[in-house]
């Protein structure tokens, strides 16, 4: 099957007064139609940046894409004009963000904000767009949508707003949804509801989802495959069951060990020693080597590439054979 989204060897740097921070260091990622792919990693590992690069939303003045390609539906996205991106955003590729509280414009009614996009991308008349907005609110299980379209964002709860944002993101028929920590800011119960809704809606529409999160439980619940990012690199990618149950990369292992285990609540929580390196002067070779127990000479000198461990399961580690 042809991938819907194919990112190859993507390098993104940020210019600042101290030099260039290499925040994405050769990302390879494929997302297939109808697939849920989780993208996990700690803060600053480049998850959101990857999504923003796909939508052409990197800050134009400071971010530089130095190398690589992003293919969507077989067409290159890098180097497209702002105008071309505008035609894609919201129509073919959509995004929902972490913070629903402030993600809707406080000055306009929900209906108006939805109608604006529907008119823009689908060329609907005002009346058709209104009906479509109501239909979409029903689709995301909002009770009395006719009332909600006439309300302002401040009148809705966080979970409701995230539903509205999801409806907005999907309402113009996007094939790809980039969900950037969509549930992080919500209560746990609402979180589960929104995830279920996202899964249900995306499955129904055949939308592919790139789910960015730092919550492995969320990934386990919703995704078919998961990619683990560390410091601008994808270190491991594979089916969720494989990656979570038979992790190969020392970083993935450490992440899983850091999860609190309700069966052994008396044991102390594990943490990964060291801290995320400074991206202005990243470590040579494998970027994880200063924090890795298995480090050897090669790790400090050469960057490992993703290699096959088993079917669809890839890991970027020099010591991978030794501990499978």
């Amino acid at each position: 099957m042809e991938p819907l989204l194919k990112i190859s060897d993507l390098h993104v740097g940020f210019l600042n007064y101290a030099g260039v921070a290499r925040v994405l260091n050769g990302i390879d990622l494929e997302l297939f139609p109808g697939e849920f792919l989780g993208l996990v990693g700690e803060s600053g590992s480049g998850k959101s940046l990857t999504a923003n690069a796909v939508l052409g939303l990197l800050p134009a003045r400071s971010a530089v894409i130095s190398k690589g390609s992003i293919m969507f539906e077989g067409k290159e996205l890098i180097g497209r004009s702002e105008k071309e991106f505008q035609g894609l955003r919201g129509k073919k590729i959509s995004m929902v963000f972490q913070e629903p509280m402030n993600a809707l414009n406080p000055s306009y009614k929900i209906g108006k904000q939805m109608v604006e996009i529907l008119k823009l991308h689908k060329g609907l008349s005002n009346k058709e767009a209104k009906a479509e907005a109501v239909r979409w609110l029903t689709q995301v299980h909002i009770q009395n949508p006719e009332k909600v379209v006439k309300e302002y964002p401040y009148e809705l709860s966080g979970g409701m707003r995230q539903r509205v944002l999801l409806a907005m993101a999907l309402s113009c028929g996007s094939q790809l949804l980039l969900a950037d920590e969509p549930t992080t800011a919500l209560d746990v119960t609402i979180q589960a509801q929104i995830l279920r809704l996202m899964k249900e809606t995306a499955d129904q529409l055949g939308t592919s989802v790139l789910l960015i999160t730092h919550d492995l439980a969320v990934v386990a619940q919703t995704c078919q495959r998961v990619a683990v990012m560390y410091c601008g690199n994808i270190v491991e990618i594979g089916p969720v069951t494989k990656v979570l149950h038979e992790p190969c990369h020392p970083y993935t292992k450490a992440l899983l060990k850091a999860l609190p285990n309700p069966d052994h609540s008396e044991t102390e929580l594990q943490s990964i020693p060291g801290s995320v390196p400074n991206l202005l002067t990243p470590p040579a070779g494998c970027r994880f080597h200063p924090r890795c127990d298995l480090v050897e000479k090669t790790c400090m000198e050469l960057r490992p590439q993703l290699t096959t461990v088993s079917e669809n399961h890839y890991v970027a580690c020099w010591r991978e054979e030794d501990h499978v």
Partner: protein, 326 residues
Amino acid sequence: MSQLLIVLLGVSLVTFLVSHVVPGDPARMLLGQRADAQTLENLRHVMGLDKPVWLQYFDYLGGLLQGDLGISIRSQRPVLSELLTYFPATIELTLFAMGFAVISGVGLGLLSAAYRDTPIDHGTRVLAILGVSTPLFWLGLMVLLLFYKHLGWLPGSGRLDSFINPPTQITGLYVLDSILTGDWVALKSSILHLVLPTICLGYIQLATIARLVRASMIEVLEQDYIKTALANGIPRYRIIYRHALRNALIPTVTLIGLTFGELLGGAILTETIFTWPGMGKYVVDSISFLDFPAIMGFTILVATIYVIINMVVDLLYPILDPQIKG
């Protein structure tokens, strides 16, 4: 409403006290230095100046409640009717200056924010800094020198050319009246006469507004909902003028209300420079004559307008920001 009354009470008290501690005797002023003591005494009695100060204040306040601002010492006519003669000229100038400042200020602020850190932005900011730091009297003289004396493009004094009859009085605003009566000659002349004073009076406020709009636009453009709008493919120009501007206008509206007061105050100087026959010029003449009722009347009128404008501004918030319920 109660806010209005409290403010006006305070204003009347302060202006009354200030004008009565200022050395100077209006009766002496009226009669001249060579008047004899008896005549002076009689006049002081007639004017109520021999009563205790607090009693004078209550007399004044009592008059105010009936819409009586007292009698001008200089002209012996009611202050209110005198002020009303000059009022339209000042309001016309102030409204034009206000329109100029708001439209160009918001426009420049938007431009500056939309093209942040580009030459457009730098140019606009220099213009704004100049506006905030240029003294009005200096600016007035410079534009007069350039556009009136050297270039001769624009008239430099008064509201109309001397050989043109004012339009039939309806509102007292020449521009409006000449439109209403179809008097195109007077319309052209009155607009030309408004240009220089409007620019001078409005420039400082334009600069302040432009700076505030720029700052709040930049703040709003960083908000998550702008990112949502971008991610939904909404074109940038639409994001600026539709999604961001409305939210950025909330602090600006407050400033615009306050600006109106500044403009009314600034009108005094502008009217003096451009010999504009408005309240500002009237009050300056009154000050040099120690015409206390006229000065106090002017102050109270301006304060009233100021408070009313700011009450209107308060009423505008719920329209701009749905979270504030009126």
